[in-house]
């Protein structure tokens, strides 16, 4: 007999797949309903009408819409995500090349956000009403209000322009990529450099990573601080906290074991939101830091109306988002046994 947890996971997984399918359909329809002619983009402006016609057939644009959709779907599942209209390269290949760069920033940014946000939120809630609490709240509000692109520029101005301690852009300094090149095994420069024992490369990677990650982290930090604080305040009012306190359980234990575990659960939902934000926020950050990641790829694809690429990225983004939320839901139900029933 599957346990409550397993049943819950199965249900959520099925739901996620259905939603993903709907997203793909929706995106596909939008991409095909658009005015410009994909074939024209494929062959370029100087092509003849005949070449264009050949392109149409090659791209399958002459077939009815539903048949195009079915073949597209089949392609997705088998790893063929189409050909970039502009570059004539595999969309999936391109995406996988650029993805790790973006992921590095996103992951680091969210780690920073959690490491700063949760303790701050807890502290703020426990010392509710004091000036520390006020500071915490203002901090949280500032976090969600800062335009990340503006903050990124300020960081550049300050740490590169004035202090000269951190690099301006890119993933690696030109000197390092020449003399201490990093072999892209996973694409994650942090991991790859460590795998090779390339300490210079590792340090350089971090130096390049830190500013974009901080800029991207502002919104998540605000979100997480705010959420943790309000959840902690609510939980600390609960009867079981009063019961524990009245019967002599230490303040420390109450805050960090009892209250926190209950408060963490909804905070995790916020993390999901934060990841979603990070995906779109990364686009802006990458532009400013000249970061060769998915964000820049997407932007270029949009500007050039490269529909297979746009489709690919959107679907990836949606997949990412859906499965992160699924993961968080499962984590939530693991931590709060009552959720499994609903």
């Amino acid at each position: 007999m599957p346990t409550g947890l397993e049943r819950y996971i199965a249900r959520r997984l099925a739901l996620a797949i259905i939603v993903l399918l709907a997203v793909v359909t929706f995106t596909f329809i939008i991409a095909r309903v658009v005015p410009s002619d994909p074939a024209e983009l494929y062959v370029g402006p100087k092509a003849t009408a005949a070449q264009r016609e050949r392109a149409r057939i090659e791209l399958g644009l002459d077939k009815p819409l539903y048949s195009q959709f079915v073949s597209y779907l089949a392609g997705l599942l088998s790893g063929n995500w189409g050909i970039s209209l502009r570059a004539h390269t595999s969309v999936l290949g391109d995406i996988l090349t650029y993805l790790p760069a973006t992921l590095e920033i996103i992951v680091l940014a969210n780690i920073i956000a959690v490491v700063i946000g949760i303790p701050l939120g807890v502290y703020s809630a426990v010392k509710k009403g004091s000036w520390l609490d006020q500071a915490g709240r203002l901090w949280a509000i500032a976090g969600v209000s800062i335009p990340s692109f503006w903050f990124a520029l300020l960081l550049q101005l300050f740490f590169f322009g004035r202090l000269h301690i951190l690099p301006l852009e890119g993933r690696l300094s030109p000197g390092v990529s020449l003399y201490y090149p990093i072999d892209p095994i996973t694409g994650f420069y942090t991991i790859d450099s460590l795998l090779e024992g390339n300490i210079v490369g590792f340090v350089d990677t971090l130096r390049h990573l830190i500013l974009p990650a901080i800029a991207l982290a502002t919104y998540p930090v605000g979100l997480i601080t705010r959420m943790t604080r309000s959840m902690m305040i609510e939980v600390l009012r609960e009867t079981y906290i009063r019961f524990a306190k009245a019967n002599g359980i230490s303040e420390r234990l109450i805050i960090f074991r009892y209250a926190l575990k209950n408060a963490i659960v909804p905070t995790l939902t916020v993390l999901g939101l934060s990841f979603a934000y990070s995906i779109t926020g990364a686009v802006l950050i990458e532009i400013i830091f000249g970061w060769p990641g998915l964000g820049t790829y997407t932007l270029n694809a949009i500007i050039e109306a490269d529909y297979p690429a746009i489709l690919g990225v959107t679907i990836l983004g949606a997949m990412f988002y859906i499965f992160i939320n699924l993961g968080l839901d499962i984590l939530q139900s693991y931590m709060d046994p009552r959720v499994r029933l609903s």
Partner: protein, 269 residues
């Protein structure tokens, strides 16, 4: 609270912008090349941009754009989303499922990506940006409204109205909507802040407001490459975005403290 005051300040500035700006024509976009890149001074408090235009004037005029964006996007989103949510929550069953699945699909897209895609279809521009953003935002209000409707439809006064034969439409209008309004208001005010940020981001990418509009995001974008040498160019418009976003968030936060009965405990007498 503080938030209201700041918002009022911006509102006043926006309304009277043409009169408050020291160099209104430059604010609107008329270039003044000899004055290129002047640092902040008493004549130009925020300095001048790459076309010699006074940045303070541009920022003041830009407030009109920002406030318009905030209001239009969110109000539109609420107008679309709330009735859908109310219908879904109140009627339940198949309609509920349908509406909620559509909402889920919309919410599965990272919102800016969806807005970008829509803009790619519609073409860049401020109006299109506002429409796109509304279209990505309405699902949140549907969800909130639906949750409220589901709770409220169990209330006795709703049942009483049903028994008396009041039509569903009236019930929704007079009983459910007014009571569900407060979470929507709170969310709406805070979303105005996010809407401004999102629109600024879109303009930053080039898909939103177009030159010579004094839109703040666009100004940061144009000024981006000058950050190291003429920092005032992108810095001040960005500061304005920050300030107004903070204002809306403070306001929404304060609103929530007042409206939420749970946090409204014994206020110190």
């Amino acid at each position: 609270m503080a938030g209201v005051l700041i918002i009022l300040f911006f509102a006043v500035v926006a309304v009277f912008a043409p009169f408050l700006a020291p160099y209104p024509e430059e604010g609107a976009g008329v270039p003044n090349p000899p004055n290129k890149f002047l640092p902040p001074s008493s004549a130009h408090i925020f300095g001048t941009d790459y076309l010699g235009r006074d940045i303070l004037s541009r920022v003041i005029l830009g407030s009109q754009v920002s406030l318009t964006v905030a209001v239009v996007v969110i109000v539109l989103a609420i107008i679309i989303g709330t009735p859908l949510g109310a219908i879904a929550g109140y009627l339940g069953g198949g309609i509920d499922e349908l509406i909620m699945r559509i909402t889920d699909i919309f919410l599965s897209f990272p919102s800016l990506l969806l807005a970008i895609m829509l803009l790619a279809t519609l073409g860049p521009g401020l109006t299109n940006a506002m429409i796109s953003l509304s279209l990505t935002w309405w699902p949140w209000y549907t969800r909130i409204m639906r949750a409220q409707a589901v709770t409220l439809r169990e209330r006795s006064y709703v049942e009483a109205a049903k028994v008396m034969g009041v039509s569903s439409f009236w019930i929704l209008l007079r009983h459910i909507l007014p009571n569900a309004i407060s979470p929507i208001l709170v969310q709406g005010t805070m979303d105005m802040s996010s809407a401004i940020l999102a629109e600024a981001a879109l303009s930053f990418i080039g898909l939103g407001a177009q030159a010579p509009s004094p839109e703040w995001g666009l100004m940061v974008s144009t000024g981006r490459i000058y950050i190291l040498n003429y920092w005032w160019f992108p810095a001040f418009p960005g500061l304005a975005i920050f300030a107004i976003a903070v204002a809306f968030n403070l306001f929404g936060d304060g609103l929530r403290e007042i409206l939420d009965p749970k946090t409204r405990r014994f206020i110190q007498a």
